[in-house]
Subunit: 247 residues, 2 copies
């Protein structure tokens, strides 16, 4: 949106300082790895459309054409990032889910299931030397993109594990109708994605919480979701409260 013709970089702020912390790491890597690392972070921070291949290659200190050499296209780069990151997250989710199943509770505790789902998404790919879990933000951002391609990437990466977790939640809440489980899983995704992607909005409302603190987010999120999932089922005929509109 920002007026596209921009002649010169505004010289007020120090440019490119965003990558000061990964510059060292960068130098030891192959161009391909540098692109993956820098693009993940840039996509997460600024959105897909806002990152030009020129900006990415410049930040990664590689030649413009090598992006297409290694990944075929900008979108190929995105898919490569997902291929490298999503599977470990899905695998860790499934591992943790299997872990709860081995525990004493049968079926496993709701709290454990939710933790198994959320913790890998929020923390994996978090390299302390970076600014935070860039892939988590990227994944969240992708969920907001309307384009079919991106939805397909997400589906391929997470549908299988998500379905397993919906089944586990249903088993943990046998009295809850499947439709309610689906809705509440949808709400779960909403809180997760919003927490992962948008640390900004709540900051303009209060200083009482810091959504970029992933550990605090998880600590707060789990009891909130447990209570929500345990809420009594909604009668089919129920309607939202009515307020006299206009009087």
């Amino acid at each position: 949106m920002s007026k596209q013709p921009q002649l010169v970089e505004p010289e007020g702020d120090a440019p490119e300082d965003r990558f000061a912390d990964i510059r060292q790491v960068l130098s030891g890597l192959t161009p391909r790895e540098r692109l993956l690392m820098v693009a993940e972070r840039m996509f997460a921070d600024e959105g897909l459309a806002a990152c030009s291949v020129r900006a990415i290659t410049a930040a990664a200190q590689v030649n413009l054409a090598s992006l297409h050499y290694h990944f075929g296209s900008k979108e190929g780069l995105l898919e490569a990032i997902f291929a490298a990151r999503a599977k470990p997250i899905a695998d860790e989710r499934m591992r943790m889910l299997a872990e709860c199943r081995k525990g004493p509770g049968r079926p496993p505790l709701l709290e454990q299931i939710l933790t198994a789902f959320l913790l890998p998404a929020l923390t994996l790919g978090m390299e302390p030397r970076f600014g935070g879990p860039a892939f988590a933000r990227l994944r969240a951002r992708l969920g907001t993109e309307p384009e079919k391609v991106h939805q397909r990437i997400l589906s391929k990466a997470f549908d299988e594990s998500s379905k397993a977790f919906m089944a586990a939640l249903q088993a943990a809440l046998p009295d809850l109708p499947p439709a309610d489980v689906a809705w509440r899983f949808h709400f779960l995704l909403g809180t997760m994605v919003y927490t992962m992607a948008y640390s900004g909005r709540i900051r303009s409302l209060t200083d009482a919480c810091d959504p970029s603190d992933q550990r605090a987010a998880l600590t707060q999120l789990i009891p909130f979701l447990v209570a929500g999932f345990r809420a009594p089922s909604v009668p089919e005929s129920a309607q939202p409260l009515d307020f006299g509109a206009g009087g």
Copy 2:
């Protein structure tokens, strides 16, 4: 992302059918109104970056330059849409909040407060003859944009009413620490925004719910959130469940 150089429109699918339902309405309006109406819907459906001013003006059947004549820029158009839509929503929220305060409960019921917050956002701007609450989707999409400008637009539109609702929630839950109220309000925003914007993700997981049904969404959302807000406060020292990572 879609390969930018595209020589011709693929002729397979019927183009522009998306606007068949508003074509008639369009004809009776001034170009300015047509732009507002069409852009709201296009921004909501496809995202801000994905809508070129050429596509917008073509769909609205106005000249390319009249967008800049009436709104100064593409971003000016976005701000005009918000100016026209956001205030009625914020006003209706405050009206409904005042309404609950007049009721018997002191402080008002949690359920009433949440309904007062969510219902206007989900339903206002929904014109039956259109595809749904386009502005709700647009508002949600804007929340995901990283650019400062968009955050500022959102702040201007909704900070005041949101702060009033956080205060009302705190009053309804006097024993809950302010930090917890803030976190849970953050989660509330997450479920609301996700529900308003992304009907797609859950559909690839199940057929059991339809997130584009705003009324059903509200019916399901309120009890879920009420239970979440009523969950016991999280002890400061609490840590997420720990799983032996890797074994």
